[in-house]
């Protein structure tokens, strides 16, 4: 059993499903050797351009308080180790779980007196990429908090409910048919182990929520809005479903 799984089960946060009985695989394993090579080599991985930007932003003062991330958090390699792997995490002020980019925006607003960035803003993605890199190799360990339980449950419901004109649920492809091919493409298990990531289709770095929106468009459903309650629920469920798997951000995907 993966570390943390028994505790999460005791909290009623995880339920065994057919998917959990299968060995879990990162989307990395479904990619061609060429794309895998693009991800594995930091001198070739295009996402590293965003990471470099993120590092510069980490050290740059912003907002009315005249502080940079480094002013409070110091050396990111030390202070941010494991942080990305523990998100989404419950934020009392927001009354719900928040993901890493929402957390960065909360810090900007509350600590730096800086304007929060809109979703998918290049600076937000760069900072998130840089912070996520500090958790590379760390097991995904969503924050153990009983307040997360209702969001996990609703997230699981969303994952299993049929949506869109094509009337498909996430589970139908990513639990029941992962590993099989659909129109020539391998169907991954949809674990969020690599985010933020460089998607070849986007020709840039994007978030998990952007990718989920693409999936929803793919089945001809109205995508959930960025930073919506539904997204928080889905992200919470997906993180628990991937608990124990190593984070391999920033990834490259087709």
């Amino acid at each position: 059993m993966t570390r943390g799984l028994p505790l999460l089960m005791a909290l009623g946060i995880i339920s065994l499903s057919a998917a959990a009985a299968e060995p879990r695989k990162s989307g990395f394993e479904y990619m061609s050797p060429a794309t895998q090579a693009m991800q594995k080599d930091d001198t070739q991985n295009p996402a590293m351009l965003w990471v470099k930007d993120g590092e510069a932003l980490w050290n740059k003062a912003d907002g009315g308080a005249g502080k940079s991330c480094a002013s409070c958090h110091g050396d990111a390699a030390a202070s941010m180790r494991g942080v990305a792997a523990r998100h989404p995490a419950f934020d009392a002020g927001s009354g719900r779980p928040v993901n890493l980019t929402e957390r960065i925006n909360l810090c900007r607003q509350n600590r730096q007196q800086a304007k929060p960035h809109p979703p998918e803003h290049p600076e937000l993605l760069s900072l998130a990429s840089f912070v996520a890199l500090q958790s590379r190799g760390q097991p995904i360990a969503p924050y153990r908090d009983a307040r997360m339980a209702p969001f996990f449950s609703r997230g699981e419901q969303l994952f299993r409910q049929r949506i869109g004109q094509l009337d498909l649920s996430c589970a139908q492809c990513h639990d029941n048919n992962a590993g099989k091919r659909l129109a020539g493409n391998p169907i991954p298990q949809a674990h969020p182990t690599g985010y933020p990531l460089y998607r070849l289709e986007w020709q840039g770095v994007g978030s998990l929520q952007r990718r989920i929106r693409n999936c929803m468009s793919g089945v001809r459903a109205e995508p959930f809005a960025f930073h919506s309650g539904e997204m928080a629920e889905l992200e919470t469920y997906l993180a628990s479903r991937a608990a124990g798997m190593p984070l391999d951000a920033p990834a490259v995907r087709p």
Binding site: A37, L182, A183
Partner: protein, 144 residues
Amino acid sequence: MWLSLAAGLGAWVVLRPAAAQAPTEDLAAAIKTYTGGAAVREGRIRFDIAELIDNGNSVPITISVDSPMTAASHVTSIAVFNEKNPQRDVARFQLGPRAGRATVSTRIRLATTQQLVAIARLNDGSWWSQRVDVIVTLAACIED
């Protein structure tokens, strides 16, 4: 239902070995303009493209020309042409003896199933080429 699903999802690229057909007229014309109509021989070039490519937006290629890269015998340029993108040119590389090795890598866009041609020029004025055929289909779960 599955056809429309396929339209929204799915992409793969497969390489067929270059027992290639003659390039389309457009491609041949572009090559002829580039070489000034000089004789071009097949060979001396290795055109590496992955056999299985996930997305036509970013396809790694490596082109290697067999040459000692000395002052006496070296590659002066390598050009890559395509058959069916909106434009024939992909990239042109300028080399010389200072390069040490006539190997260049980049990542390219492939709009659809088509042929690619690498053309190398040596300092003795000779021209060499290598063709590859690539198959491309639609990308999966796109923005709209």
